[in-house]
Symmetry: D3
Subunit: 244 residues, 6 copies
Amino acid sequence: MLLALSTWQEIEAYLERSTAIIIPIGSTEQHGPNGLIGTDSICPTHIAAGMAEKEDMLVAPTISYGMSQHHMAFAGSATLSPSTLMAVVIDIVGSFRQHGFTHFYFLNGHGGNIAPVTSAFSEIYAGHGNDKTSPRCRLANWWRDSAIAALAKELYGNAEGYHATVSEVALSYHAHPEAVKHAEMEPAVAPTDEFYDAADFRRKFPDGRIGSSPQLATVADGERFYQLAVETLTKDFHAFVANS
Amino acid sequence: MLLALSTWQEIEAYLERSTAIIIPIGSTEQHGPNGLIGTDSICPTHIAAGMAEKEDMLVAPTISYGMSQHHMAFAGSATLSPSTLMAVVIDIVGSFRQHGFTHFYFLNGHGGNIAPVTSAFSEIYAGHGNDKTSPRCRLANWWRDSAIAALAKELYGNAEGYHATVSEVALSYHAHPEAVKHAEMEPAVAPTDEFYDAADFRRKFPDGRIGSSPQLATVADGERFYQLAVETLTKDFHAFVANS
Amino acid sequence: MLLALSTWQEIEAYLERSTAIIIPIGSTEQHGPNGLIGTDSICPTHIAAGMAEKEDMLVAPTISYGMSQHHMAFAGSATLSPSTLMAVVIDIVGSFRQHGFTHFYFLNGHGGNIAPVTSAFSEIYAGHGNDKTSPRCRLANWWRDSAIAALAKELYGNAEGYHATVSEVALSYHAHPEAVKHAEMEPAVAPTDEFYDAADFRRKFPDGRIGSSPQLATVADGERFYQLAVETLTKDFHAFVANS
Amino acid sequence: MLLALSTWQEIEAYLERSTAIIIPIGSTEQHGPNGLIGTDSICPTHIAAGMAEKEDMLVAPTISYGMSQHHMAFAGSATLSPSTLMAVVIDIVGSFRQHGFTHFYFLNGHGGNIAPVTSAFSEIYAGHGNDKTSPRCRLANWWRDSAIAALAKELYGNAEGYHATVSEVALSYHAHPEAVKHAEMEPAVAPTDEFYDAADFRRKFPDGRIGSSPQLATVADGERFYQLAVETLTKDFHAFVANS
Amino acid sequence: MLLALSTWQEIEAYLERSTAIIIPIGSTEQHGPNGLIGTDSICPTHIAAGMAEKEDMLVAPTISYGMSQHHMAFAGSATLSPSTLMAVVIDIVGSFRQHGFTHFYFLNGHGGNIAPVTSAFSEIYAGHGNDKTSPRCRLANWWRDSAIAALAKELYGNAEGYHATVSEVALSYHAHPEAVKHAEMEPAVAPTDEFYDAADFRRKFPDGRIGSSPQLATVADGERFYQLAVETLTKDFHAFVANS
Amino acid sequence: MLLALSTWQEIEAYLERSTAIIIPIGSTEQHGPNGLIGTDSICPTHIAAGMAEKEDMLVAPTISYGMSQHHMAFAGSATLSPSTLMAVVIDIVGSFRQHGFTHFYFLNGHGGNIAPVTSAFSEIYAGHGNDKTSPRCRLANWWRDSAIAALAKELYGNAEGYHATVSEVALSYHAHPEAVKHAEMEPAVAPTDEFYDAADFRRKFPDGRIGSSPQLATVADGERFYQLAVETLTKDFHAFVANS
Ligand code: NI
Ligand code: NI
Ligand code: NI
Ligand code: NI
Ligand code: NI
Ligand code: NI
């Protein structure tokens, strides 16, 4: 069930059955020579839609802009400052709480969001002290799920990489097969390194990839990630709601 | 050309041809008994996609959460505070400016966004003083376009209304025919009034509509609005880029 | 009754009779070759004083600095950022609420204030959710009143203009006849156009006027606007208090 | 020369002669049984006008709302939070700097403004590092001037007090003889004490005075304070401009 | 009793005996040729430890960074902006309040902290309106204590000075005899003047001292200040707790 | 070399030799029945002092208050909000940058600081775009160092735990042997679980420990951690400075 395609009366009815909501969150940032700028938003949006197709779960509109400061030396990347992203998360949780939602499952597609979203959760909890009814927030990073990580390892070994990974590019292609791209990449497996600011990132990773070979990504592999992610994150969602 | 489905190299190439970008902005809020909670985001996203299909224009991901404080007494509505929405707009404009974009065409679907987005533009301009290269920002409210308003008047007269209007519901149905809803509404044409806070809104407009009869909305009408909006807003976009 | 010239015991007594307050709000910005920099503050201050002379209404001190970013390329203009102005409005409403005031009638003299003050109202309402006793705020733009606009049209036709209008200059002269100025202006009626930042404003409107001929302004006309504004805004004030 | 009654061309001309500006700043707060709520704004406004009558000095509109948190238990008092007041001061200084002003003489009527305005100055200076052209800001508290304090001591001894002082009430009466009030006060000289929050203030000073006997205030005394303040603060202003 | 060296159960027990806490606050800024950069933090930390040795008082960790904008032209100085320091104070008071603390005794070593900390207290009080249980905050500036000031006067006369004073350098040497420094200073007594920003400070006080001769500082004198400060501030602390 | 015990001239000289600085950062929060509330600040302060004893490294004053929202249900804990902590880090880095420092090594003792400090780094980098001289910031979490973690595993196996760990309590005891505490704990090894807000934390971990047996902590073990941490973090510091 997609919030954007529902009426308010349908949400009122949903709240009788569940007070949990899935909020996909991604970014708008470069993903190398053949990866889509929307990759990090497309992936959690796609997985969440799959979850909601199979079970009675409510999916909110995707937060499509994230914290991508380190990608800003590549055209088309956009970033919210950490404090802006925190404000967005705080406002959205605060809004849905007014209607009775209690469990906020942020399905995340982007590593750079982890620090600010975690910080936002702390600000949210701080507002509730020892209040026994304070909200429950979880940041689920789909690519860090152990089953997903194992599949990526099995399929690509070290060529999976850390940014513009094969798995995320494949999953985005499954969501948007019309947007599959092909590009020469040199070297085949991108370098890895620590990095600091955006200029440093670009110097070290001139085509935008970190440690990955996204030229290996296919729609067919994307479907495997999709099926697995829908299954494994559905379990994670149920565990979250049941245990917190 | 959709930013989310492009690579950074494709954006680098686009910047050789144009430094203007379309940024759809909407809201997540109740739209009466048969209107979709995503209406205000769906409409500008749909129009922008149509514009980009016909001409070489770049469309950024939609800002799906807007300033909807007055809708918060209806389940499923979410709101950013005005200052959060201002920060989002400022950060996004600031990001794209770093890549050389100069013209920011916010294609807006929601009246409640006008005050904070206009305020954000002032903060952006303030940062540039007499700088001759300061950005150019425009907030284009699709439903206020004179051709669109005339069509709505012609089709529905006063039943077009002010919130959950027939035209916006029709346009959202054209974008998502799978989500067409039917609902009894009483009275046929909703009341109109001034309103203050969310509780006052709900008291005066108990099913969420203001002055409208969205039960008249059809996919066929939606297509007329779509075609007209693509045409008339494309002209508006060109005028903006040419004259500022 | 002027708050600034009252004692706290007099205000305590007033609150027994009424919980409504008028707060004039203006700006400090250029108004063309013969308009006063204080025009936008002087006008609502003058009208409010007239209202309070005739009826038992309480008038707070004027907020003399507004959001005037686009006038900053002319000497003497000052601007609060939108977020500062929002904070000022929020703090003042919050202060008076502590004493039991419920109705806040902002009598506004400056178009640039509309977006930030409207945004501030939303932040204020957001703090009160479904609270039935939340405050009622109204932004009354004196020059947009239909009777006032009709008089300006009758007297000056299109030469009334959009900034440094004849009516506001005339009204400010009625308030301060000692400050009447004379200046040559070329062309007689200033140009009109859309504008973006402060530099753009100055380029397009080199003497500060938009579409107006303020050399037509006289103290006598100012008196007509004054009498009409006191009468018509008093009605508006009563309607606001009665109906909200 | 009053900024509010000038045109932008007149300010442009003034800037050829001087780059210093006087900005009166006060508050809107209770001043005991016979003191005006506007006392702290009226006094510096009155003195500044006197200074500008005698010499070629420019006076900006008064900041009429200050930091008055501790007076909030008395009807009619209003307060900006310290951070709002800081933002106001920062924005106003930043605005006038754009036109070439270099010396900002805040003529202050309220002790509660000292901490936030001083903090604002630090934020302003922080923005300029070792920049040799950074602005010069001075907070001149008229009642702390040694000549003024000596006159108050001579006239009233200890009955001058610390809030709703005889001198400030007298000076406000000189500015507004139409608003002179009479009230019984018990005890004749109000108590003095340290205080914390607004409730504590009201408990300790039930009629709003601290240590003062403002029933002694007369228009005639007010004139003496006025003449002396105009003279002594004019000297202080010149010393500030000459030595910084 | 030092909070940092206690367990939470020990604090729970302390709260049965007292709800007052001492919070030393200083700065990290130059203190002339032989003064330590940590002087302003070392002094109140040292005094507070002495107070807690003699009586059952709880001392929180020192806030070691203060508002030192005007010292920024000297290597090693650091500053929080006034608004950051305000946030720090507000958060710390808010935290301890949750555990039941009611009296917050900030033992301050740095004049530049006075404006922002005082502003923070106002923001804290504003949050509590007429709440009878609002916290009590006191900023105790050790060097302004009359007994301390008298001793400094007696020992050094005018050579005590205003920054990098003999007394504070002596006291810091008593706390850290291993860090005693020797330096030639010319002139023997540093100049005094008003100052504005950091560049102005450095121009007027090229070695960092204002009006002082810290070459007179000895560990032995430091001990006298230490003993006196422990005694006199202990009394001040008790008076604060008893009377507010 | 401790910044707090240096003069500004000594820092000026240090900057000729190095532009790197170590900034210990911790928290003020419960650490179970025998752990010190200052543990997280004491540990990095102690290690940093050890590093500076052996080599020519500069250590700034410790940031003693961190982000500890989830510990707030235990007496004595204090927390900065994430945004306050971000502001502190941003201001301190900005301050030292003015003197020419380029490398900021935050030696961290508290897991809860990771998200906000990482977010602060992003805000800092965002201010510098493609500026080739932007600062380099590193958050070194001493307990996550692989050598340290291996030693803890070897000594305590799973009883090391996740909060109030044996290793951190031991290290704090080595720094403050006068503060060693003894307490009965039941069960011997504390439970582990995910947690949300402060109330949830207290429910799940009633004595404050997570998964640990800090009753095993000894000064002797603390010395082993101290020696190892000084050695291994010195290497990490050099690698950071050399490679970034
Ligand atoms: Ni990604
Ligand atoms: Ni709509
Ligand atoms: Ni105007
Ligand atoms: Ni006063
Ligand atoms: Ni000092
Ligand atoms: Ni710890």
